[in-house]
Symmetry: none
Subunit: 154 residues, 2 copies
Protein backbone atom coordinates (compact mmCIF):
# COMPACT_ATOMS: atom_id res chain seq x y z
CA UNK A 1 0.00 0.00 0.00
CA UNK A 2 1.57 3.26 -1.08
CA UNK A 3 -0.75 5.55 0.81
CA UNK A 4 -0.22 7.32 4.08
CA UNK A 5 -2.80 6.04 6.55
CA UNK A 6 -3.33 6.04 10.28
CA UNK A 7 -1.44 7.91 12.95
CA UNK A 8 1.44 7.19 15.32
CA UNK A 9 3.05 9.18 18.12
CA UNK A 10 6.81 9.00 18.59
CA UNK A 11 9.16 10.50 21.13
CA UNK A 12 11.81 13.12 20.44
CA UNK A 13 15.15 12.10 21.98
CA UNK A 14 17.71 14.22 23.79
CA UNK A 15 19.36 15.19 20.53
CA UNK A 16 16.11 16.40 19.04
CA UNK A 17 15.57 13.48 16.73
CA UNK A 18 12.41 11.53 16.08
CA UNK A 19 11.79 8.35 14.12
CA UNK A 20 9.56 8.68 11.11
CA UNK A 21 7.12 5.76 11.33
CA UNK A 22 8.51 2.84 9.36
CA UNK A 23 5.27 2.53 7.48
CA UNK A 24 5.56 6.08 6.15
CA UNK A 25 9.28 5.76 5.59
CA UNK A 26 8.96 2.72 3.38
CA UNK A 27 6.63 4.59 1.06
CA UNK A 28 9.15 7.37 0.60
CA UNK A 29 12.12 5.08 0.28
CA UNK A 30 10.29 2.91 -2.21
CA UNK A 31 10.30 5.97 -4.41
CA UNK A 32 14.05 6.19 -3.91
CA UNK A 33 14.19 9.34 -1.79
CA UNK A 34 16.25 10.06 1.28
CA UNK A 35 14.88 13.48 2.01
CA UNK A 36 11.46 14.82 2.82
CA UNK A 37 9.82 18.05 1.81
CA UNK A 38 7.98 19.84 4.57
CA UNK A 39 5.55 22.74 4.40
CA UNK A 40 3.85 24.65 7.17
CA UNK A 41 0.14 24.21 6.76
CA UNK A 42 -1.76 27.44 6.14
CA UNK A 43 -4.69 26.76 8.41
CA UNK A 44 -3.46 24.14 10.83
CA UNK A 45 -0.68 24.03 13.40
CA UNK A 46 0.77 21.11 11.49
CA UNK A 47 3.43 20.31 8.96
CA UNK A 48 2.61 18.76 5.59
CA UNK A 49 5.38 16.32 4.74
CA UNK A 50 6.05 14.15 1.74
CA UNK A 51 8.66 13.17 -0.78
CA UNK A 52 10.15 15.66 -3.20
CA UNK A 53 7.31 14.95 -5.58
CA UNK A 54 5.08 16.81 -3.15
CA UNK A 55 7.00 19.94 -4.03
CA UNK A 56 6.65 19.12 -7.71
CA UNK A 57 2.89 19.00 -7.34
CA UNK A 58 2.91 22.43 -5.73
CA UNK A 59 5.21 23.78 -8.40
CA UNK A 60 2.82 22.62 -11.08
CA UNK A 61 0.03 24.37 -9.27
CA UNK A 62 2.17 27.49 -9.12
CA UNK A 63 2.75 27.46 -12.85
CA UNK A 64 -0.95 27.83 -13.45
CA UNK A 65 -0.88 31.22 -11.80
CA UNK A 66 -0.22 34.43 -13.64
CA UNK A 67 3.52 34.80 -13.01
CA UNK A 68 3.27 38.56 -12.62
CA UNK A 69 0.42 38.64 -10.16
CA UNK A 70 0.97 39.05 -6.48
CA UNK A 71 -0.50 35.65 -5.82
CA UNK A 72 2.27 33.94 -7.75
CA UNK A 73 4.90 35.74 -5.71
CA UNK A 74 3.08 34.85 -2.53
CA UNK A 75 2.80 31.22 -3.45
CA UNK A 76 6.42 31.01 -4.45
CA UNK A 77 7.48 32.60 -1.21
CA UNK A 78 5.25 30.29 0.75
CA UNK A 79 6.44 27.16 -1.02
CA UNK A 80 10.13 27.92 -1.16
CA UNK A 81 10.95 30.16 1.77
CA UNK A 82 8.43 28.79 4.21
CA UNK A 83 9.10 25.17 3.30
CA UNK A 84 12.19 23.06 3.52
CA UNK A 85 13.82 19.68 3.28
CA UNK A 86 14.10 17.27 6.18
CA UNK A 87 16.95 14.82 5.87
CA UNK A 88 16.42 11.26 7.02
CA UNK A 89 19.40 9.80 8.84
CA UNK A 90 20.56 6.22 8.50
CA UNK A 91 18.00 5.06 11.03
CA UNK A 92 15.05 6.81 9.46
CA UNK A 93 14.97 9.71 11.86
CA UNK A 94 14.69 13.43 11.30
CA UNK A 95 15.81 16.21 13.59
CA UNK A 96 13.03 18.44 14.86
CA UNK A 97 14.24 21.95 14.13
CA UNK A 98 12.91 25.25 15.42
CA UNK A 99 11.36 25.61 12.00
CA UNK A 100 9.06 22.75 12.97
CA UNK A 101 8.57 23.60 16.62
CA UNK A 102 7.55 27.19 16.03
CA UNK A 103 4.68 26.40 13.77
CA UNK A 104 3.39 23.24 15.41
CA UNK A 105 4.15 23.75 19.07
CA UNK A 106 5.83 20.35 19.06
CA UNK A 107 8.08 19.87 22.07
CA UNK A 108 8.59 16.33 23.37
CA UNK A 109 6.49 14.09 21.14
CA UNK A 110 5.31 14.10 17.55
CA UNK A 111 2.14 12.63 16.12
CA UNK A 112 2.52 11.49 12.56
CA UNK A 113 -0.82 11.40 10.77
CA UNK A 114 -1.40 9.93 7.35
CA UNK A 115 -3.14 12.08 4.75
CA UNK A 116 -3.28 9.79 1.75
CA UNK A 117 -0.73 11.37 -0.58
CA UNK A 118 1.43 12.76 2.22
CA UNK A 119 1.48 12.88 5.99
CA UNK A 120 1.36 15.48 8.72
CA UNK A 121 3.32 16.17 11.87
CA UNK A 122 1.40 17.39 14.92
CA UNK A 123 1.75 18.12 18.57
CA UNK A 124 -0.12 15.14 20.06
CA UNK A 125 -2.57 17.29 22.00
CA UNK A 126 -3.36 19.55 19.12
CA UNK A 127 -3.82 16.58 16.87
CA UNK A 128 -6.29 15.08 19.29
CA UNK A 129 -8.17 18.35 19.56
CA UNK A 130 -8.27 18.70 15.82
CA UNK A 131 -9.47 15.15 15.43
CA UNK A 132 -12.46 15.60 17.68
CA UNK A 133 -13.28 18.90 16.06
CA UNK A 134 -13.27 17.34 12.61
CA UNK A 135 -15.40 14.50 13.86
CA UNK A 136 -17.93 16.95 15.25
CA UNK A 137 -18.04 18.90 12.02
CA UNK A 138 -18.66 15.76 10.03
CA UNK A 139 -21.34 14.57 12.42
CA UNK A 140 -23.02 17.93 12.20
CA UNK A 141 -22.89 17.87 8.46
CA UNK A 142 -24.38 14.44 8.33
CA UNK A 143 -27.11 15.42 10.72
CA UNK A 144 -28.08 18.23 8.39
CA UNK A 145 -28.08 16.01 5.35
CA UNK A 146 -30.05 13.34 7.09
CA UNK A 147 -32.87 15.81 7.43
CA UNK A 148 -33.27 15.58 3.71
CA UNK A 149 -31.87 12.18 2.84
CA UNK A 150 -32.28 9.64 5.60
CA UNK A 151 -29.37 7.28 4.91
CA UNK A 152 -28.98 5.61 8.25
CA UNK A 153 -25.55 4.04 8.14
CA UNK A 154 -24.66 4.30 11.81
Amino acid sequence: MNRFLGHVTNRIDAKGRVSVPAQFRSIIQKAGHIELYALRSLHLPALDVGGPELLMRFDQRLEQEDPFAETADDMSFYLHADGGFLKLDGDGRITVTDFIREHTGISADVTFAGANTHFQMWHPDRFEAHRTRVRERLAEKRRQENLRIPVGTS
Copy 2:
Protein backbone atom coordinates in the same frame (compact mmCIF):
# COMPACT_ATOMS: atom_id res chain seq x y z
CA MET B 1 18.50 18.80 -4.33
CA ASN B 2 19.60 21.80 -6.33
CA ARG B 3 16.92 24.21 -5.25
CA PHE B 4 17.02 27.08 -2.85
CA LEU B 5 14.60 26.12 -0.10
CA GLY B 6 13.92 27.07 3.47
CA HIS B 7 15.32 29.94 5.45
CA VAL B 8 18.18 30.49 7.89
CA THR B 9 19.24 33.48 9.97
CA ASN B 10 22.94 34.19 10.40
CA ARG B 11 24.82 36.81 12.37
CA ILE B 12 26.93 39.60 10.95
CA ASP B 13 30.31 39.75 12.70
CA ALA B 14 32.30 42.78 13.81
CA LYS B 15 33.92 43.08 10.41
CA GLY B 16 30.60 43.15 8.60
CA ARG B 17 30.77 39.64 7.27
CA VAL B 18 28.06 37.00 7.23
CA SER B 19 28.17 33.32 6.29
CA VAL B 20 26.08 32.28 3.33
CA PRO B 21 24.26 29.11 4.43
CA ALA B 22 26.26 26.08 3.37
CA GLN B 23 23.24 24.58 1.70
CA PHE B 24 22.87 27.58 -0.58
CA ARG B 25 26.60 27.83 -1.12
CA SER B 26 26.89 24.29 -2.38
CA ILE B 27 24.23 24.92 -5.00
CA ILE B 28 26.13 27.91 -6.32
CA GLN B 29 29.43 26.12 -6.31
CA LYS B 30 27.91 23.10 -8.00
CA ALA B 31 26.97 25.44 -10.83
CA GLY B 32 30.61 26.48 -10.98
CA HIS B 33 30.24 30.06 -9.77
CA ILE B 34 32.48 31.91 -7.36
CA GLU B 35 30.64 35.17 -7.23
CA LEU B 36 27.05 36.09 -6.60
CA TYR B 37 24.90 38.71 -8.23
CA ALA B 38 22.64 40.78 -6.08
CA LEU B 39 19.68 42.87 -7.18
CA ARG B 40 17.20 44.89 -5.23
CA SER B 41 13.88 43.15 -5.16
CA LEU B 42 11.26 45.13 -7.02
CA HIS B 43 8.47 45.13 -4.48
CA LEU B 44 10.11 43.92 -1.33
CA PRO B 45 12.72 45.21 1.12
CA ALA B 46 14.90 42.28 0.20
CA LEU B 47 17.83 41.42 -2.01
CA ASP B 48 17.59 38.81 -4.74
CA VAL B 49 20.84 36.90 -4.95
CA GLY B 50 21.99 34.24 -7.34
CA GLY B 51 24.35 33.36 -10.13
CA PRO B 52 24.79 35.34 -13.35
CA GLU B 53 21.70 33.75 -14.85
CA LEU B 54 19.67 35.71 -12.34
CA LEU B 55 20.34 38.83 -14.39
CA MET B 56 18.92 37.36 -17.55
CA ARG B 57 15.80 36.18 -15.84
CA PHE B 58 15.19 39.62 -14.44
CA ASP B 59 15.65 41.22 -17.84
CA GLN B 60 13.15 38.87 -19.37
CA ARG B 61 10.70 39.56 -16.64
CA LEU B 62 11.10 43.29 -17.04
CA GLU B 63 10.43 43.15 -20.75
CA GLN B 64 7.26 41.20 -20.28
CA GLU B 65 6.01 43.16 -17.35
CA ASP B 66 6.30 46.58 -18.85
CA PRO B 67 5.17 47.19 -22.42
CA PHE B 68 6.71 50.67 -22.55
CA ALA B 69 10.31 50.30 -23.53
CA GLU B 70 11.42 53.53 -21.95
CA THR B 71 10.10 52.63 -18.56
CA ALA B 72 11.60 49.22 -18.90
CA ASP B 73 14.92 50.86 -19.62
CA ASP B 74 14.59 52.96 -16.52
CA MET B 75 13.83 49.96 -14.46
CA SER B 76 16.67 48.07 -15.99
CA PHE B 77 19.00 50.93 -15.18
CA TYR B 78 17.71 51.14 -11.68
CA LEU B 79 18.36 47.49 -11.15
CA HIS B 80 21.69 47.19 -12.85
CA ALA B 81 23.23 50.42 -11.69
CA ASP B 82 22.77 49.44 -8.09
CA GLY B 83 23.17 45.74 -8.52
CA GLY B 84 26.54 44.27 -7.89
CA PHE B 85 28.70 41.31 -7.24
CA LEU B 86 29.11 39.80 -3.85
CA LYS B 87 32.39 38.01 -3.54
CA LEU B 88 32.53 34.92 -1.43
CA ASP B 89 35.62 34.69 0.74
CA GLY B 90 37.45 31.48 1.50
CA ASP B 91 35.06 30.60 4.29
CA GLY B 92 31.91 31.18 2.29
CA ARG B 93 31.14 34.59 3.72
CA ILE B 94 30.18 37.84 2.06
CA THR B 95 30.58 41.39 3.30
CA VAL B 96 27.36 43.24 3.97
CA THR B 97 27.78 46.53 2.16
CA ASP B 98 25.85 49.75 2.60
CA PHE B 99 24.11 48.93 -0.65
CA ILE B 100 22.60 45.94 1.06
CA ARG B 101 21.80 47.69 4.30
CA GLU B 102 20.05 50.62 2.67
CA HIS B 103 17.55 48.63 0.73
CA THR B 104 16.87 45.91 3.28
CA GLY B 105 17.35 47.60 6.63
CA ILE B 106 19.68 44.77 7.59
CA SER B 107 21.81 45.62 10.61
CA ALA B 108 22.98 42.79 12.87
CA ASP B 109 21.48 39.64 11.42
CA VAL B 110 20.51 38.39 7.99
CA THR B 111 17.78 35.96 7.08
CA PHE B 112 18.56 33.96 3.96
CA ALA B 113 15.37 32.76 2.31
CA GLY B 114 15.17 30.25 -0.53
CA ALA B 115 13.29 31.21 -3.68
CA ASN B 116 13.71 28.08 -5.78
CA THR B 117 16.08 29.37 -8.46
CA HIS B 118 17.81 31.95 -6.25
CA PHE B 119 17.64 33.20 -2.71
CA GLN B 120 16.85 36.39 -0.85
CA MET B 121 18.44 38.33 1.96
CA TRP B 122 16.15 39.92 4.56
CA HIS B 123 16.18 41.73 7.82
CA PRO B 124 14.86 38.99 10.15
CA ASP B 125 11.97 41.10 11.43
CA ARG B 126 10.87 42.20 8.01
CA PHE B 127 11.09 38.66 6.78
CA GLU B 128 8.86 37.50 9.58
CA ALA B 129 6.39 40.28 8.91
CA HIS B 130 6.29 39.45 5.24
CA ARG B 131 5.85 35.78 6.02
CA THR B 132 2.77 36.32 8.12
CA ARG B 133 1.33 38.73 5.60
CA VAL B 134 1.81 36.23 2.79
CA ARG B 135 0.19 33.50 4.80
CA GLU B 136 -2.77 35.72 5.55
CA ARG B 137 -3.22 36.67 1.92
CA LEU B 138 -3.02 33.07 0.77
CA ALA B 139 -5.39 31.87 3.46
CA GLU B 140 -7.85 34.60 2.56
CA LYS B 141 -7.54 33.86 -1.11
CA ARG B 142 -8.13 30.22 -0.56
CA ARG B 143 -11.15 30.93 1.56
CA GLN B 144 -12.61 32.96 -1.25
CA GLU B 145 -11.78 30.81 -4.23
CA ASN B 146 -11.39 27.52 -2.49
CA LEU B 147 -7.93 27.63 -3.92
CA ARG B 148 -6.21 24.40 -3.04
CA ILE B 149 -2.68 25.33 -2.16
CA PRO B 150 -2.10 23.04 0.77
CA VAL B 151 -3.20 19.46 0.45
CA GLY B 152 -3.91 19.28 4.11
CA THR B 153 -7.60 20.01 4.18
CA SER B 154 -8.77 17.30 6.51
